[in-house]
Symmetry: C2
Subunit: 470 residues, 2 copies
C-alpha cells in the first residue's frame, strides 16, 4: 500500500482536468492553490479551449501534456469522468483526486457511474481518492488543493470524511499553531478507503499522529486490522459523528453513511488501540502533544506557573483527568526555593512563581521538576509575555533551556500561553523545538492525559480507554 499511495502524497507533477480561468469555480481554485502553496513540481491545467490559465500553459487533453504526469485532479462533471480516467490511464497517471460530485451520493445511476470509474482506474493501476471530496494537502511536496491558506507544517495527518468540516477544523487547529503533515478529504471512498489511508500513514515517517473524522465506517474489519497494526507504531485519534439520535439521522442525510451503533464503534476503538474523543476539538489538542512530545512513564505532573490561580486551576484540571500533582518532599522544596522570589509560597508543587517575570526562573523550576523522580510530565507557563528589548536575550536563553528538557529527561513538557502572546522569536524558538502550547489549563491537562493514555497502550498493551467527554 505504501508504494501504491506514494504518488498521492508525493506527486512529482500534477494535472488539473477541468481547470478554469473563472474565479469562484473549483477548476480555478485547483490551479491557483497549488501555485500559491509553491507546489514543487509542474502544474498542467487541462481545458479544451484555454491557451493559458493563471499564466500556465493549458492543454486540451491530459494526453497532450509533453512531460509525465503523476497525479490528476478532476473537477469536470461526473458523466465525463470515466473518459478522463481512460485518458489518465493512457498518460500513465498513478493517482487521481476526484473532486466532482454526482456519484453514489445521488442514487443508483450515480453509483453505477462511480463503479465504472473505479473499474477503469483499477484496471490501469490508478489509485483514486474521492469522488465528492474537497482535495488534498501534503506538506511533503507543498501541494495544497484543499485550503485558501497554508497550514502550519508538523506531524499530524488528518483524514476526513467531511470536506468542509475537515477544512474548518484544520483551519482552527492551524490558527492555534498545531502542525500538519497532510489532509485528505476522502469523499465517497469509492476506491481508497480509511483502511488504506491509515495503512499508508502508519508507514509514513513524516506522520507522527493520525487524526480521523468518521461519519460511518466502510470495510470495518480491514479498518480494525490495519488500525491495530498502526497504533502499535503511532497513535490514531478518532472523532466519530452521528452519536446521538438526531445526529445519526443528519449523518444519513449528509454522506449516506450509516452511523451504526455507537457501542460497536467504541468496541472497535478499544480493540484497535484507537483514542476516541467525544469533542472534535479535543482530537487535535491531543494530537498536537502526541506529535511533538515523548510519552510519560506515569501520571504524576509537575506544574509551574506565574500566579497562584493558574496553579490551582491547572491542578484541578489534572485531577479531573485522574492525573496527580504530587506534593514534593522537603529536599525538593528546598532545592526549588532557591530559584524563587523571597515572598513566594513554599514550592511543594504546583510551583507558584508569585509574579516573577524572569524567564530563567521558569526554566530552572521546570528543569528541577523534570529531574525529580516522582514527576512524569511538566506543565509550564511559557515565558512569552512582557518581552522587551532589554529582556529578550534572557527570554531566548530561558526558552532554549525549557525546550531542551523533554529530550534531556525523556519527559513531556506542555506549554501554557495566551494565544495573543504566541508570536515573535521566543515563541518561534519554542515552537520549532516542538513545545506544544495551549491557552487553557484544562487543554494542557488533557494533552498530558492523551500522552498518558497512549503510553499505557504502548507499555502494557492494554485496550485503549475512551477519553472522558470533558
Amino acid at each position: 500500500m505504501y508504494d501504491e499511495l506514494r504518488p498521492l502524497f508525493s506527486p512529482r507533477s500534477i494535472a488539473v482536468i477541468g481547470a478554469s480561468s473563472s474565479p469562484g469555480k473549483w477548476g480555478h481554485a485547483m490551479v491557483v492553490r497549488p501555485i500559491q502553496s509553491a507546489f514543487r513540481g509542474p502544474i498542467y491545467p487541462i481545458n479544451p479551449k484555454a491557451k493559458t490559465i493563471e499564466g500556465l500553459t493549458a492543454y486540451p487533453n491530459i494526453r497532450d501534456v509533453p512531460g509525465p504526469v503523476e497525479m490528476a485532479i478532476v473537477t469536470i462533471p461526473a458523466p465525463m469522468v470515466p473518459d478522463a480516467v481512460r485518458d489518465c490511464a493512457a498518460k500513465g497517471v498513478k493517482a487521481m483526486v476526484v473532486i466532482s460530485a454526482g456519484f453514489a451520493e445521488t442514487g443508483v445511476a450515480g453509483k453505477a457511474l462511480q463503479d465504472e470509474m473505479v473499474d477503469i482506474a483499477r484496471s490501469a493501476n490508478i489509485r483514486l481518492m474521492g469522488p465528492n471530496g474537497m482535495g488534498i494537502y501534503t506538506s511533503e511536496v507543498r501541494l495544497n488543493t484543499a485550503f485558501d491558506f497554508m497550514p502550519q507544517p508538523g506531524g499530524i495527518s488528518f483524514v476526513s470524511q467531511s470536506g468542509t468540516m475537515g477544512a474548518y477544523l484544520l483551519g482552527i487547529a492551524s490558527d492555534k499553531g498545531y502542525g500538519f503533515n497532510a489532509f485528505l478529504s476522502v469523499g465517497n471512498q469509492a476506491d481508497l478507503s480509511m483502511a488504506d489511508y491509515i495503512e499508508y500513514l502508519g508507514e509514513d515517517e513524516r506522520t507522527r499522529v493520525i487524526v480521523l473524522y468518521i461519519e460511518g465506517l466502510k470495510d470495518g474489519n480491514r479498518f480494525l486490522k490495519n488500525a491495530r497494526n498502526v497504533t502499535r507504531k503511532k497513535p490514531i485519534i478518532v472523532y466519530k459523528s452521528g452519536q446521538g439520535e438526531d445526529g445519526a439521522r443528519a449523518t444519513m442525510s449528509h454522506t449516506a453513511s450509516i452511523a451504526g451503533s455507537d457501542a460497536t464503534f467504541d468496541a472497535v476503538c478499544r480493540q484497535a488501540g484507537i483514542i476516541r474523543t467525544y469533542d472534535v476539538s479535543h482530537a487535535f489538542d491531543i494530537a498536537e502533544a502526541l506529535s511533538k512530545q515523548p510519552l510519560p512513564k506515569g501520571n504524576r505532573v509537575g506544574i509551574v506557573a506565574g500566579g497562584g490561580g493558574m496553579c490551582v486551576v491547572s491542578t484541578d484540571a489534572c485531577n479531573g483527568y485522574g492525573l496527580s500533582v504530587p506534593e514534593l518532599d522537603e529536599d525538593a522544596v528546598k532545592q526549588l526555593s532557591q530559584y524563587l522570589l523571597p515572598h513566594a509560597s513554599p514550592p511543594k508543587n504546583p510551583v507558584d512563581l508569585a509574579g516573577d517575570p524572569r524567564g530563567m526562573t521558569i526554566a530552572r523550576v521546570a528543569e528541577e521538576l523534570a529531574r525529580h523522580p516522582e514527576i512524569d510530565a511538566i506543565i509550564s507557563e511559557a515565558p512569552l509575555w512582557g518581552i522587551t528589548p532589554q529582556n529578550i536575550q534572557e527570554r531566548l536563553d530561558a526558552a532554549e533551556k525549557i525546550s531542551r528538557i523533554p529530550e534531556k529527561y525523556g519527559k513531556p513538557l506542555i506549554g501554557l500561553s495566551m494565544k495573543r502572546f504566541m508570536t515573535g522569536i521566543v515563541y518561534e524558538l519554542m515552537r520549532d523545538r516542538n513545545i506544544p502550547f495551549y491557552e487553557f489549563p484544562k487543554d494542557s491537562a488533557r494533552a498530558v492525559y492523551g500522552l498518558y493514555m497512549y503510553a499505557g497502550l504502548r507499555m502494557r498493551s492494554e485496550s485503549m480507554p475512551t477519553l472522558p467527554n470533558t
Copy 2:
C-alpha cells in the same frame, strides 16, 4: 449596598497613592492604564517627591489635591496603608482599591494590620476592595487599572478571587469577542466580599450576567441569601477551583482559602440558582450568550450551516447536552426547500446549505426556523467568509436580517464562525446587534444549553442543575 458601591464602579475622580514614574512598578501601571483607557475624570498621582508623573501634576499627599477625590488606588507598602486610609478619610474619599500585599495572607501580624486598615476605613464610611488584588476595570467610566489592554465592552461583570488568573481568563474571553462591563480582583476581601459585589451587580443595570471565580467562600450564608435574590433577576455563573485533592491543597497555599467540601458548594449553587461550571472557559462561553440573547422556551434547536459535516457535528453537540434537533414536518421542509440550491438535501433540520455562498440563504433559512413553532433556539453559521467588494452589500443585508431574528421572534440565535473571519463590518454589525459567536459547534450547543438552564430556573423556579462537565 448599591449607593455605597457606586463610587467604586463609577468614580468621578481618582487618586493613585504610591504613583511612580518607573515603568515596571505597580504605581506606574496604575497611572498609565487609566490614562490609556481614557478614564472620564481627573487622575491625581500621589507621590512625596515627584512634581509630575506621566504628564500629570503629582501631589505629596492626597490631602493636597485641589479638587474632590472619589476613589483612591493604593500601591504603597502595607505598613503605610493605615495612614493613607486616614488621609483618604480626611479628604472625603468614598472608595479605595488596595493593591498592596503583605496583609492577612502573610500571617498574624499582617492580619492585625489588615484589621486596623478596615476599622479606619469603616469608621470613615469608606468601602474598600482588596488588599492584595490586581485592581478594577469598569466600562461605565472607562477606568482600567487591571489590564494592559481594553476589554470588549458588554454585559458580563466578572468578580475574581485570583487576580492573575482572572486577568488571563478575561483576556482570552475578550480576544474571543465576549463583552465585559466590569472586572474586580477582590484580593483578601477584608472589607467588601463576594456577597457585597453580587448584591451591587444584581442591581446594576449595565450588568446582564455575573461570573465569579471562587477559591473558597467567606460569609457563606450571606452569599447564599444574596445570590438567591440576584439569580431571580439575572444569571450568576461560578467556577470554583480547588475541586480535587491536590487542587484544594494548592488553593490553601495560594490565598489561604479553605476550598471546603465540593458537595457543600454544589448544594449552595443549587439552592441559590447559580450555574456552576467545571471548566473555567465554559463560564464565559455561557455568560456571553446569556448577556446577549433572549431565553428559549424549550430545548428544541434549529440548525443551519454551510456544510453537512458542520450540521452533523452541531446536531451531535446539541444531543450531548440533552437538546433536541427535531425533524421538521413536510410543510416546513417544502417551505425551506425553496431557498436552497437544487442539489441540497431535504432540509429536515439540521439544514445543510450544501455550499451555498449567499448570506441571504442563511438569513432566510434562519428566519424560517425561528418562525416554526417547534423550534425554540437557532444555531446559525454566520455569513462572514468569502466576503468580496461584489457581495458585501448582500452580506450586510443578510447580517441585518439575521440579527433581527431574536427580537422579532423572541428566540435566541447563536452564531458559528471561525475566529479568523470575525473581523470587518459584517462581523461588527452582528456583534453590535448582540449576536454571540463561537468557533466550535459544541461551544454553541453549550451556549444554548446555558440559556435553557437559566430559562428553566426563571420559568419553573427549579433548583439549578450543574452544567455537565463536557
